[in-house]
């Protein structure tokens, strides 16, 4: 995925709903879930690329995106967190202060 704010992100989730996250060595607490939705990944790009070669890339079929208000020591921010259920990975998609 391109154009992502840099840095690894670790998310704690309860029943799939994110409650805590850790980014750029700072911890944040999810105060409110503003909304959530599910998006599609362009899975076919990988299949076409993979014919005849062996690549380990993975594009998920589906991602659940959580738009949350998260508060840390420096104040709060609104972020979009994307969860790939198949690979069980989280990534930070968008950031709005």
């Amino acid at each position: 995925m391109t154009k992502r704010p840099p840095g690894e992100i670790t998310v704690t989730a309860v029943n799939g709903v994110p409650t805590r996250l850790r980014w750029r060595e700072r911890s944040y607490l999810v105060e409110q879930v503003l909304s959530h939705w599910v998006e599609s990944g362009a899975w076919w790009q990988i299949v076409a690329r993979r014919v005849g070669t062996a690549t380990a890339d993975h594009i998920p079929l589906s991602c659940t995106v959580w738009r949350v208000e998260a508060r840390g020591t420096r104040g709060s921010m609104v972020v979009d967190l994307a969860h790939d259920a198949e690979a069980d990975t989280w990534s930070l998609v968008r950031l709005a202060d």
């Binding site: 939705w37 599910v38 299949v47 993979r50 005849g52």
Partner: protein
């Protein structure tokens, strides 16, 4: 808590749904949901199997249709694919089902009309008497679109229109948790994505709207795939439908949430929508609101569950009314418009009277026929048989059925079309009296019980053979008699095969076109689910680059997609034979749409039709019947003799002599290599022998257990052995060997004392593996009670068990024996006319050029193409000596179209080429083809042998060029010119004539026939040099001798074979006759590619002799003959030897097929055997009786494109006839 899905699309929503109805039902049952709906787009084609699957799974079946609201033409479908508003319509009760059928029919009929919309619904609603339909207005509907656009005023107006129709309305909420565009304009990849109708926010707004308007709401999930992973298939289908490669812009779905969710998952969705709607919905707090939503959904669902029998009418039999059969109803009454309600309800008293009348009419017809056919009315046997059969028919209430078929056959025959019934119906005496079947069952000892018994209340199956060329005329006659309200044809779903799946998936993924092409063409015509296995097992694929990629695992995802599309319907097509006949309720029970040729077609296929209890008549177009009709016409035309083929007696010795000679190419049923071998050993002497011969040609373990003992006893090598003296009457006709189903029936009846009808039931049970133990448990005591010894009982049981599924129905064989005999009779006594018929209609397995050569070998003069004497078809013509010969047909000419043909036939005779040019509008390439094939030789005196003086074909070609140039100049320049035009007479140009090989080449190219010389003649020097054995000399070879054979390939077959390995049978034509060879699996590998793709072959093999006329060849190698000749011309015999010594590199695979029948089921089971590694194992199909078959038997071999020099496809390739 429970939940029922009310909006579900299966693969019968063409290129929209990803799963079969069965999968949907299984998933719903696994979720413990009490019922599930099937609501396919525009179609009820999946409904019957869906209802049957629900019944079996024990859950309720709800059926609906997803219909478009706007005018709907073919162009619209592609252009407006995304924009069409849709609603789902659910059926309630019997009236609802009838309404759905009529609604779906109306949709397809009104396709071109405007304003389909709500008018359809209002008319339909008026037609429904009990039960009705419910309309779901969801996010895809016009109302939903208005709500999405934030125009509640428009939404209200549209809703009012809907409510004016009087149908029950509900609002449908769907949330796939799609992104609301107000929240995020682009997706996680940064790509702008269209907002989608299935967002939670929109669902909430629709709920609010429905509350305000006081319309009930239900929750569905607009399901297109059962598992989430099915979303990939759905995407591919969307891309295929739109004919574009996959791209986020073209996706119909925004995510993969449209799957068959479990009940807790749906509750969660309900709660999310309720929460988004705020606490104001119906005044409930959100949790209670969610519960209310689910409750309303379940309430509607329970009202919509259909009873398979009471509502859908599974198993109900509706036969045409007696008045209609007797022609007492007017044409207008028969052809009422689709939407005018027919008075279909008939009181039971009326039905009872009609049944009695029908019985009386049937008896009267039979009695009259007895007299007419010369039966003695006092013959007790005849009387008893007739009374028995009529009593059974009366008890079952099927008199109308027989009268229906009888009148259909009579109408067809009166129109001069050859017609005959096939199948077990030949065993029914009533059928014979009604002239439906030509055979007299009393004469051939056939059983009615095999066809119809009072123990099975299902309609019997009668198939009718008619002349292939006039099949549509037969259809028209049926429609004329019964009317469009009571007749429909049957459909069939074409499903994906590997080639199509590869093309569609490849295109969707954007793979390069030429790569996809190569990939697709490499596969034989197999099911897409077998792609992986084919790559692993078939030698011709394994060695290719693709096969190696598959072995390395880099094609896995692609193959998963390809296999995922398998079993999905691609499109609905007209079944070529099935016709439904019914009373006036037809359109209440099945949806109808138009088809090719404008015949109204049911959306149900032949299995659905049987489940529904509809009367289906198969009207098969048989090319042999057309060939025989043509032959009869030619005999009359050339000699004046009128041949009544259906009246010739079955005892002509000369005909049997021909059959025994095995020179039976072109004859019905007995021309294949296997049959010729059998006939050679069997030496049939009479009609009964033909019946036995046809029955012996079966797959399975029968060869050693049936054919060999029979032939031995028959030829006098051993005494016939009878399992028990009591069985002698039944088995005498086949020397003690069990061959026919009828014999199995008699054996059971004799040994256990049951009636023949009961015995037939037992026989059918024996055919399924899980019922066999039960039958055994009954059989033993029953037989022992009758006093038979245990030894006999055991012996008989073993035979019964093995033969029940592999015996053959004697009535069926008898029906087939008639055209077999008739074709052989024609070949014996009217050889030229016979060949004219066979060449014109091409009924058999062999290419025309072989048939032509056979005619030559019979001494029939072959008369070349002649512009003045040739007709559209092959005809009989006299040569200079006055002998009857065969004139080559104009329709054989490459590029010949109907218009040109017509103008040629109208313009006869032509004095010259220029005369021809001026008076017909034949396109230049076709004229050139005519010249090249010699059509103008006679007119211009071109001689058969190349000459130095005189006009030749090349001169004529130049003449054509002149004529053409002049004609175009005339058109271009419309003014006086000093040119006087082209010469009317072609000039001698001095060009050399075409030599004989060029002539043959041209003939093959233009006609597909080598008329003047046999193609192999040109190879004679090479064949002599190599010492190749010719067909005429095969009988001189000895067993185990290693020989070479060569010739033109005329057929390859891959029939099922007992040991489970694939065998390929090859037939070559070497100008002296056909030569047959068999390639077993170990020999195939390196040569498979040459075998399938080359046209001229050189084959090495070893001889196996069996009796004075039996020769078979086991092949050990094959090479392209043309290539061998090239090498020979360049480097002599040594070069050829070198060529033959090059064994193509081949990855040996010697996995033995072991009979590992791991699971025994009632259908053949696919078993992996031979080794631990998945990749090294082979698959074998195991039949219930233990018969093992390679899964690649019964498939068309690969290689439809001609690779080596044959102009076009000039040979036959097929699964071949079972039985070898």
């Amino acid at each position: 808590m429970s939940f029922t899905h009310l909006h579900v699309a299966s693969g019968f929503s063409l290129r929209h749904g990803a799963d079969t109805p069965q999968t949907i039902v299984s998933a719903a049952a696994a979720h413990d949901q009490p019922a599930v709906a099937l609501t396919d787009r525009d179609s009820l084609a999946g409904a019957v199997r869906f209802v049957a699957a629900c019944r079996e799974a024990g859950i309720g079946a709800i059926v609906g249709v997803d219909l478009p609201l706007a005018p709907w033409t073919r162009e619209d479908v592609v252009a407006r694919d995304r924009g069409l508003a849709r609603v789902v319509v659910l059926a309630r009760g019997r009236g609802g089902w009838a309404g759905l059928c009529r609604l779906t029919s109306a949709l397809h009929q009104a396709g071109e009309e405007n304003g389909l919309q709500h008018q359809v619904f209002s008319r339909i609603n008026a037609l429904i008497r009990d039960g009705g339909i419910t309309v779901l207005l969801g996010p895809q509907s016009d109302v939903g679109a208005a709500v999405a656009a934030r125009r509640p005023d428009i939404a209200r107006a549209l809703l009012a229109q809907w409510q004016a129709t009087g149908c029950e309305m509900v609002v449908e909420l769907v949330s796939h948790r799609s992104r609301d565009p107000r929240i995020a304009a682009s997706d996680i990849n940064g790509a702008p994505q269209r907002g989608h109708a299935y967002s939670t926010a929109l669902a909430a707004r629709m709920w609010q709207f429905a509350t305000d308007e006081r319309v009930p709401v239900v929750l569905t999930n607009a399901v297109r795939h059962v598992e989430q992973s099915g979303a990939r298939i759905v995407d591919v289908l969307d891309a295929v439908r739109r004919l574009v490669p996959l791209d986020a812009r073209h996706l119909d779905r925004s995510n993969a949430e449209g799957y068959l969710k479990s009940t807790p998952e749906m509750w969660q969705v309900a709660e999310e929508i309720a929460e988004a709607a705020g606490g104001d919905v119906h005044g409930f707090a959100s949790h209670s609101a969610a519960r209310h939503l689910i409750d309303t959904t379940e309430a509607l669902a329970s009202r919509c569950v259909l009873d398979p029998i009471a509502h859908v009418g599974l198993g109900e039999i509706h036969l045409p009314e007696l008045d209609v059969i007797m022609g007492r109803v007017s044409a207008e009454a028969l052809n009422t418009a689709w939407d005018r309600p027919l008075e279909t309800h008939r009181a039971s008293a009326e039905l009872a009277t009609e049944a009695a009348d029908a019985d009386a009419v049937l008896r009267a017809r039979c009695e009259e026929a007895l007299l007419r056919k010369g039966f003695s009315a006092s013959d007790a046997r005849v009387r008893e048989r007739l009374d028995d059969e009529l009593a059974t028919i009366a008890k079952l209430g099927f008199a109308t059925y027989f009268l229906t078929v009888g009148v259909v056959v009579r109408d067809i025959r009166s129109a001069g079309i050859r017609v005959a019934a096939r199948g077990s119906g030949a065993g029914c005496f009533v059928n014979h009296l009604l002239d439906i079947a030509l055979i007299n069952p009393l004469e051939h000892d056939l059983l009615m019980e095999r066809f119809l018994t009072p123990l099975r209340r299902a309609l019997p199956d009668i198939d009718i053979d008619v002349e292939s060329a006039r099949r549509l005329e037969a259809y028209d006659l049926i429609f004329a008699r019964f009317g469009a309200a009571r007749v429909a044809s049957v459909s069939m779903m074409e499903t994906y095969r590997v080639r199509h799946a590869i093309r569609d998936v490849g295109a969707a993924l954007g793979l390069p076109r030429n790569e996809i092409d190569v990939f697709a063409k490499a596969f034989p015509h197999i099911r897409a689910s077998s792609a992986r296995d084919a790559l692993r097992e078939l030698p011709e694929l394994r060695r290719t680059g693709i096969g190696k990629m598959a072995a390395a695992g880099t094609l896995d995802e692609l193959l998963t997609l390809i296999e995922g599309i398998d079993r999905l319907p691609r499109h609905i097509a007209l079944h070529p034979c099935g016709v439904l006949l019914s009373d006036a309720t037809l359109r209440d029970r099945t949806p109808i749409q138009a088809s090719a040729g404008d015949y109204p077609m049911s959306q149900f296929d032949k299995d659905d039709v049987e489940t529904m209890g509809l009367l289906k008549l198969d009207v098969l177009g048989i090319r042999m019947q057309s060939a025989m009709a043509h032959a009869i016409d030619e005999i009359a035309r050339t000699t004046g003799e009128v041949v009544e083929l259906d009246r010739i007696p079955f005892d002509d010795e000369a005909t049997y002599e021909l059959i025994r000679s095995t020179r039976t190419l072109g004859c019905f049923q007995i021309e294949s290599p296997g049959q010729r071998e059998l006939v050679g050993k069997f030496a049939p002497e009479n009609f009964h022998d033909i019946i036995v011969d046809i029955s012996l040609f079966r797959p399975g373990p029968v060869k050693s257990d049936m054919i060999v003992p029979f032939l031995r006893a028959r030829q006098g090598w051993s005494m016939p052995e009878y399992l028990h003296p009591d069985l002698r009457p039944a088995l005498q006709e086949t020397c003690g060997v069990v061959v026919f189903h009828e014999q199995v029936i008699r054996m059971i009846a004799v040994f256990t004392g049951v009636t023949l009808a009961e015995a037939d039931e037992i026989r059918r049970s024996l055919g399924s593996f899980d019922k066999q133990p039960k039958v055994r448990a009954w059989f033993y005591p029953a037989a022992l009670r009758r006093g038979y010894q245990l030894e006999s009982v055991e012996a008989v049981w073993e035979v019964l068990r093995a033969f029940a599924s592999f015996g053959f129905c004697k009535a069926h064989a008898a029906a087939f024996a008639v055209p077999t005999y008739q074709s052989a009779w024609l070949k014996t006594h009217h050889t030229a006319a016979f060949f004219a018929g066979v060449l014109t209609h091409d009924p058999g397995m062999y290419p025309k050029r072989l048939i032509l050569d056979d005619a030559r070998n019979f001494g029939i003069p072959i008369l070349g193409l002649d512009i003045n004497r040739s007709r559209a078809e092959f005809v009989v013509d006299r040569n200079e000596e006055g002998e009857l010969g065969i004139r080559i047909a104009l329709s054989q000419v490459k590029g010949m179209d109907d218009a040109s043909l017509e103008s040629i036939l109208q313009g006869h005779p032509f004095g010259s080429l220029s005369d021809f040019w001026k008076r017909t509008r034949t396109p230049r390439p076709v004229v050139e083809n005519l010249v090249l094939a010699g059509a103008f030789d006679a007119t211009h005196g071109v001689s058969a042998r190349p000459r130095r003086n005189g006009i030749n074909r090349r001169d004529l070609l130049l003449h054509v060029a002149d004529l053409d140039r002049w004609a175009s100049r005339k058109l271009a320049v419309d003014q006086l010119s000093l040119d006087c035009g082209p010469a009317d007479v072609p000039l001698r140009t001095g060009l050399p004539d075409m030599d004989s090989s060029e002539r043959v080449r041209a003939e093959l190219d233009v006609l597909g026939l080598d008329v003047s010389r046999h193609v192999v003649d040109f190879y004679t020097p090479l064949l002599d040099a190599l010492g190749v054995t010719r067909s005429r000399d095969l009988l001189k070879t000895r067993s185990r001798q290693e020989i070479l054979i060569a010739g033109v390939k005329v057929a390859t077959q891959t029939p099922p074979i007992r040991s489970g390995r694939r065998v390929v049978f090859l037939t070559l034509d070497d100008a002296t006759g056909p030569v047959d060879a068999a390639f077993f699996e170990d020999a195939q590998g390196p040569y498979a590619s040459t075998l399938f793709h080359s046209w001229l072959l050189l084959v090495r093999g070893s001889v196996r002799r069996a009796g004075p006329k039996g020769v078979s060849i086991t092949a050990t190698g094959c090479w392209d003959l043309a290539e061998a000749r090239r090498r020979w011309l360049a480097g002599g015999l040594e070069a050829v030897q070198e060529f033959m010594d090059e064994v193509p590199w081949f990855e040996g695979d010697d996995a033995m097929v072991e009979g590992a029948a791991a699971s025994r089921s009632s259908r053949p089971v696919m078993v992996r055997t031979g080794g631990m590694s998945q990749r090294g194992s082979q698959r074998v199909l195991v039949h219930p009786s233990g018969f093992r078959q390679s899964p690649w038997a019964d498939l068309k071999p690969a290689g439809d494109e001609v690779s080596t020099g044959a102009p076009g496809k000039l040979w036959h390739s097929s699964p071949g006839s079972s039985g070898w």
